[in-house]
Amino acid sequence: MKDIKQNLTQELDQTSGNPLLEENIKISCRKVNVYYHKNVQSIFNVSFDIAKNQIMAMIGPSGCGKSTLLRCFNRMNDMIEECVVDGDIKLDGENIHSKNIDPVILRASVGMVFQKPNPFPKSIYDNVAYGPKLHGLVRNSSELDDIVEESLTKAGLWKETKDCLSKAGTSLSGGQQQRLCIARTIAIKPEVILMDEPTSALDPIATATIEELMYELKSSYTIAVVTHSMQQAARISDRTAYFHLGRLVEVNDTNTVFTNPVHELTENYITGRFG
């Protein structure tokens, strides 16, 4: 393990492939380092760009820091006390760590869907209405009704739930709950949606539904998705980033990464030799 780490530090000063873009950039990372407990570093010197209205898949073996990096984009790591993020992360060219960015406002424009469906213990309607009410996006109840219907429709959940909007969100099935969480996120009209292994707790049918949904959402949102499933990354993403032990090994168009990987580690991973 130690050898691999040393090799990595020597080899990976530069990320292979095509990490930086010239135009159409939504999120850009430059030399991002993340530390826990002051001296434990979990992300090393990561630089790459995420393009607007595309799906960026982040893959890699467990513990490689992809979720930690994802949580940097909406500053969820602020909630963890010992976590320190260092380096530049820009959303639309503006540094999200700068003083005039309020993390609360940032999170309204960078939504997040979690690994385990986590609907609030409220009704389906209230789950979706939570964000719009919070941010004062509506003036009266009929506007709120419209937002709820629109979000649930976009998330593909309207048909199933329009007759039981007052039922508890927690009473839905796992896949429905995850779509409810997506509906809840798009109800506040974010620009970016971060997804942290959104289908790892779901069965194949529910997974397919969510994947289709992501594909449709791409036209209006920028999506960054962490996934353990390489098939999923290959199916839905436009670009793929491969992480290994906290380092970004390779970024490229999904096609290129899966058919013609540059780095040996990437090739080993996607051919299933480890991870």
Partner: protein, 473 residues
């Protein structure tokens, strides 16, 4: 030889039984022609338990019935005792025991019947002790021999010991349950006795409480009135004031400790708050009586003067008293704060972090998350905690007794004195009185009503709390 010696001998023989049986099992094991079923020590335990149990049973039964049996024999031997009626016989017997156990009486002087009886008593007691020792030890030896020869290498000693341990644990649990049932039954029967003299409707619905009754015949005055409504009201009223103090304080500090405080602050503050729970209620009582009560009185005096000078009738007419429902309520509220705090803290921490993360990721601030997501999710548990705290407040005695007085007023004025069920029970049962008059029995009726109320509240509260737990497990 006395009971202590006998106990020691019994212990030694049990230990010996254990060692012997274990040694034999080890020999079986090393001889290796036979396979033994369990580890050698299990054969030891099994033998030891079976050596102890019959002997111990005899020992306990003998000790329980010894005194009665000896008394019976003494009464049958001495004719002067047979003519006494039941109560004076008991008194005389007590006297005899005292003489027999004391060093001050001269037992050689056999002129009085009591001394004769005491001599007899001592004689029989010694005989009984010797007999007891012989029978207990012989039974121990006998049962050891029987068990020792019945146990073979094939005996499932491990399983049998396991079963015996189960019975042992069961019997411990049974003792606790039986005690509870005993208490309930005794309270119930005394209450029924009370209700045969005072109608249950008068007790539950009449508003006049003055339990002073004539103790001696021909004493003038009171026949007693047992309408418990003022007591029920006083209890509810004081608990209500206490909850007004404790509910917001406890809940809000729980929210702060669970979601805002740094770990360092939490590690200091929580034990400090829990100290509040460790203060004896009598200390709270004199805090209420000597500090809060007078402070409230002084404030009332000030208010009254203000009311007179400003000519506001309501304020000018307020009651001035050191003993007030308000003082008690405030102090009792302080007392139950840690109770509410620890339950609320517990419940709030059970709300899964994933939900909190979800809310934060939607762009909610911390306090928005607390009030809109965490509190609604934790509400059933918090309500359950409040109910448990209320039943605690209802059962509280000392603070009320010291700071609220004993006057049974039916009033909604927090500056007046009120009294509670528990306080009245204390008042009814202290002082000189016969045990079977109405005044004393009323205490049992009050106790029963208190018991039923807290039981119902606790059952509801525990049901709510449990249901809430299930939601997230």
């Amino acid at each position: 030889m006395n009971n202590l010696d006998l106990t020691i001998i019994l212990c030694i023989s049990v230990l010996a039984a254990f060692l012997l049986a274990q040694r034999r099992a080890k020999l079986w094991h090393t001889s290796s022609t036979t396979n033994i079923h369990s580890l050698p020590s299990y054969y030891g335990y099994l033998t030891a338990i079976w050596t102890l149990m019959p002997a111990l049973t005899i020992f306990i039964i003998w000790s329980i019935f010894e005194l009665n049996a000896i008394s019976g024999i003494i009464v049958s031997k001495i004719q002067e005792l047979q003519i006494l009626d039941k109560e004076s016989l008991e008194l005389t017997l007590n006297k005899i025991y005292n003489i027999a156990n004391s060093d001050f009486y001269n037992l050689n002087d056999s002129s009085s019947i009591n001394n004769q009886a005491a001599n007899l008593f001592i004689e029989y007691k010694n005989n009984s002790l010797i007999l007891k020792c012989i029978s207990v030890i012989s039974i121990a030896i006998l049962s050891f021999l029987v068990v020792y020869f019945f146990i073979t290498p094939n005996t499932k000693a491990r399983n049998k010991v396991e079963k015996l341990i189960t019975y042992l644990l069961l019997s411990c649990a049974l003792i606790a349950i039986l005690t509870t049932i005993g208490i309930i039954v005794s309270v119930l029967f005394e209450s029924l006795e009370f209700f045969s003299q005072i109608s249950i409707f008068e007790f539950l619905f009449s508003t006049n409480w003055s339990p002073q009754i004539a103790i001696r015949e021909g004493q003038t005055g009171n026949s007693g009135a047992f309408g418990a409504v003022p007591l029920f009201w006083g209890t509810v009223f004081i608990s209500f004031i206490a909850m007004l103090v404790a509910a917001p304080l406890g809940l809000i500090s729980a929210i702060y400790l669970a979601k805002y405080a740094t770990p360092k602050f939490r590690s200091i503050a929580k034990p400090l708050l829990e100290i509040l729970a460790g203060i004896p209620t009598v200390v709270y009582g004199f805090f209420a009586a000597l500090t809060i009560g007078p402070a409230i009185r002084d404030f009332c005096v000030f208010l009254k003067e203000l009311g007179i000078s400003l000519d506001i009738e309501i304020i000018a007419n307020i009651t001035i008293s050191t003993e007030s429902a308000l003082a008690v309520g405030l102090v009792m509220g302080t007392m139950i704060v840690p109770f509410i705090l620890s339950i609320s803290d517990d419940v709030i921490s059970t709300v899964p972090n994933s939900i909190v993360d979800g809310s934060i990721a939607m762009g909610a601030t911390k306090s928005e998350t607390v009030w809109r997501v965490i509190i609604p999710a934790a509400l059933p548990g918090i309500v359950g905690g409040f109910l448990l705290a209320i039943s605690r407040a209802i059962g509280e005695t000392m603070i009320v007794l010291m700071a609220a007085g004993v006057a049974a007023n039916l009033t909604a004025n927090p500056l007046d004195t009120v009294t509670t069920i528990t306080t009245q029970i204390v008042v009814l049962l202290t002082g000189d009185q016969e045990f079977d008059n109405v005044k004393t029995l009323a205490a049992f009726a009050l106790g029963l009503s208190l018991f039923v109320t807290t039981l119902i509240i606790n059952v509801i509260a525990l049901y709510i709390v449990r249901k809430y737990r299930e939601q997230y497990e």
